[in-house]
Symmetry: C2
């Protein structure tokens, strides 16, 4: 399936915004700036950025507020940082990312550590910048929410639990919690941040949180299904890698059919959360379906 033209336009706009951003990084550390660009401009789908923009448009009555593109860029920088560090030899030890050399292969390990570090810093710097919103309380809230999503109680904590799971036999509930932190928290942030920036009502913000919680888990199950199904060529990373390293994948824990069914049910739940907003939520509904129907 393909995404609606509006979402594809959002993705292209984010791509262009990110390119400009990396043209204007300050300071003399050119190699570091280069590695940050390499790690971020990696041909990703910009799913998280598209969530920010679609949620913001829904909250804003069909219009995008000025400054929300910065929020979308910040989420992609944070996501890029997490991929660079996850790929490091001491972590998942992955030499490729989307069919290209991982950052620590294209540069070196020290540069990759610093690239991830500086991308995280950049994400927070972007969110707090007055260009995001005239309302400082919106900027501060976005920083608070991203810190909760990315930190020890979110993404970083989830990666820690994932590493620990390699040497144990995690239960389905444990894997569910780990993935909610590792992958789900940032996806949730993306949708909620778009809502916050667009001035969502409390009801819409809660609906976006429910939508993105279900979407995040479905997205991870779909990832495990792709990992199981795909060969290295079509996915751009060694297939079955997670299973080979003994991690608890949803496919291993639930079986193929149950994993497929659960992902579909979660997306039905995500769609239901936004049903009261009808056609105005069409882009978010399309992103949800895309998450489980994509081929890479």
């Amino acid at each position: 399936m393909t995404l609606p033209a509006s979402v594809r336009a959002d993705s292209a706009a984010v791509e262009s915004h990110l390119a400009s951003l990396f043209d204007t990084l300050p300071g003399p550390a050119a190699a570091l700036a280069c590695s940050m660009r390499y790690a971020t401009m990696n041909g990703g789908k910009r799913l998280r950025a598209c969530l920010v923009l679609a949620a913001s448009r829904l909250a804003g009555g069909g219009q995008l507020c000025d400054g929300v593109m910065h929020v979308a860029a910040a989420v992609e920088c944070l996501h890029a940082y997490s991929l660079v560090h996850d790929d490091l030899p001491a972590m998942d030890d992955s030499d490729t990312r989307r069919g290209k050399p991982a950052c620590h292969i294209a540069f070196d390990e020290a540069t990759a550590i610093l690239a991830g570090d500086a991308l995280q810093t950049l994400a927070f710097g972007i969110l707090a910048d007055p260009g995001v919103s005239e309302d400082a309380s919106v900027r501060a809230r976005l920083v608070t929410e991203l810190a909760a999503a990315a930190g020890v109680g979110g993404m970083a904590g989830g990666q820690m639990l994932d590493l620990e799971a390699e040497t144990g036999t995690p239960s389905l509930d444990e894997v569910r919690q780990m993935q909610a932190m590792k992958t789900g928290a940032l996806i949730r942030f993306a949708a909620v941040a778009g809502g916050i920036h667009g001035g969502a009502s409390a009801a819409l913000e809660a609906a976006l949180a429910n939508y993105s919680r279900d979407l995040g888990l479905a997205f991870q199950i779909a990832d495990d299904l792709l990992d199981y199904d795909s060969d290295t060529e079509s996915l751009g990373k060694p297939a079955g890698q997670d299973a080979a390293r003994g991690k608890g994948s949803f496919v291993v824990l639930m079986g193929l059919d149950a994993a497929r069914q659960t992902a579909a049910e979660l997306i039905t739940g995500a769609e239901a959360a936004l049903a009261p907003w009808g056609a105005a939520a069409a882009d978010l509904q399309a992103i949800a379906r895309f998450a489980i129907e994509r081929r890479s």
Copy 2:
């Protein structure tokens, strides 16, 4: 020399505040939380936190504002993150820190990478929290300033230039710029953040920036002098380590006497920047002198 009782009390208060902070980290990633505590509660002098508090007290007419302790804690978390990542095998490859096993030795490399990552996240999360200040524009500005100090144009960029210097022959100006980014930017942030939080006038904020710029460079020269002078036992890390790795130390580039004299002149400059504030700036003046007279 010893620091004034007020500064020592600040240091103890920060220590206690940090301990409480690490008691209340969210989520199930207990090993990660444990490594974050280990990396931060490492017997450091809390120089940066003391700068925050002393600058805030100066700006606030002798009183500390509520919430500034959070700012001090955030700076220490950011600093701790930088030490954990700097010590990694791919970076400076240092097995000890303050005479104790470095984080990646006490835990493992993956945990240390994540501990640094999550400490950085925590620092930004703390700054944006409403507990710091009722004024969201103060919180957002602190985040903006910390991001500028820590990112590609500041600390992370400086570490990149430092790694590059290992394979080259950096000039004195290059080393000065590198250290202004790697070490100076966060010291500058600490003093300026205290001023911002305490409601400093534009004149005081500019003076704090000048004070801390000179202090930061003097602090690094003093570090190089200690590195040159000390033996492993008294310093807690292998003496002469930087020189052995071919890095441009100020002592190597300037010679011992010129390095000592330059550090003393910089501290005279730092003191002069705050001279108009007289005795109210006594704590900051004492911290400046301590920076070059300390023995570790």
